[in-house]
Symmetry: C2
Subunit: 235 residues, 2 copies
């Protein structure tokens, strides 16, 4: 067994419940403007922009664009689609920053604290540095550092993102464990030479099925961060 | 008065007392090998490598090299000069990482906690990311993120370092305050469009004179981090 020194975490879906948080902020905005809508669907549509645009960046079809800017592009479309009145720029920026205020799953903060007692812990997310920093502050995520794909100008699952993450933390890829609730992300980490741990988040997408299957390639498989901390013998 | 959103901190000398910490670790190593030496002088010589090499990088005379690697280069010379026996690689790496274990000035942690309650706080140091991350963990520095010149592959006082720091924190340079005990660093920050605060550390260099003069260009001038927190109306 390799000696793990550093644990990197996917954030959206793995550490925080983006769907519930975004649906809740969208619902408040809807109420304010007396607009009815399915706000989970709104959240899903907003999230989809991210999925398509990060692929475009990695495929070289478009230049680097931050996740904040991807969110803002799609927000403009969604506000029209849901028939919001024209909002001031400051209001749009503030609403776009709902993605900086995502709430952790119930076990996340305690589990991270336990893991931090023994390992260097940092996010390794496609979210930009300021998004991750603000979210850490807002939700009391006890990160030792913040690492974003923004520093690679490539998005996960490009191997360079994981390799730069390990390097910036002063660790070999073989000493670095990637934690995620998504198979594509863990496979990306393995392709880059890291170890992989799946923490399942069955409710991430509501009714839609999440990745919950175990796999011989995962070093650890846990139902939440506290179970992962148990498996790694953290107090 | 501009609205400050983010405060970036020089680290060596400003947040931590590198000279006392390094002299203390060197003295322990000396005892172990029954070597007498002036360990403050040892610390100063080690630190000097940093001063000359970061200039070489910024002047384009040598390619990017991390502060850890600069320290290791000079350590090899110093171990010979002080007549240490030939040390194993692992021992040299561990001693070189004395720079990851620098102790904060007595007011640093409390002052940072107070400033953090109101502002985003991060180091903006020439030390590499892993050095700063390990030091933050070792010395309980409550950073919201870690920012290093390593991300710019230029060293302070190059303006790009300060500008990238503000950008990664999602702030305009005019919303970002640079805190340092060194005039050259604050002038670098001003040249990059940031605001500047001097916190004096008169004992940084022992008998040698530190920068302690006030200047009309500094937005704030404080004797320690608690006084800066008072001036910024932090609880």
């Amino acid at each position: 067994m390799q000696k793990i020194k550093c644990i990197l975490f996917d954030v959206f879906g793995t550490v925080v419940d983006w769907r519930e948080s975004i649906a809740s902020e969208a619902s408040l905005l809807g109420k304010k403007y007396k607009i009815n809508g399915n706000w989970y669907e709104f959240a899903d549509k907003w999230r989809n922009a991210y999925n398509t645009e990060i692929q475009s960046v990695n495929q070289g079809k478009r230049n680097w664009i931050s996740v904040d800017d991807i969110h803002m592009e799609r927000l403009e479309t969604l506000l029209e689609e849901y028939k919001f009145p024209k909002l001031e720029k400051e209001k749009k920026i503030s609403f776009n920053q709902s993605w900086h205020r995502l709430k952790p799953w119930p076990d996340s903060v305690e589990g991270l604290q336990r893991l931090k007692s023994k390992y260097i812990i940092a996010p390794l997310s496609n979210g930009n540095m300021s998004l991750l920093t603000n979210m850490g502050k807002y939700s009391n995520l006890p990160w030792d550092a913040i690492i974003s794909a923004e520093l690679s100008t490539k998005y996960k699952p490009d191997p360079s993102v994981y390799q730069l993450g390990a390097k910036l933390m002063g660790c070999k890829t073989s000493e670095t464990l990637m934690v995620a609730a998504h198979k594509f992300d863990l496979i990306g980490a393995l392709n880059a030479g890291l170890l992989a741990a799946m923490v399942i988040r069955p409710k991430e997408f509501g009714e839609r099925k999440a990745d919950i299957d175990n796999d011989t390639r995962w070093e650890y498989y846990s139902k939440d961060f506290n179970e992962l901390a148990d498996q790694l013998n953290c107090k």
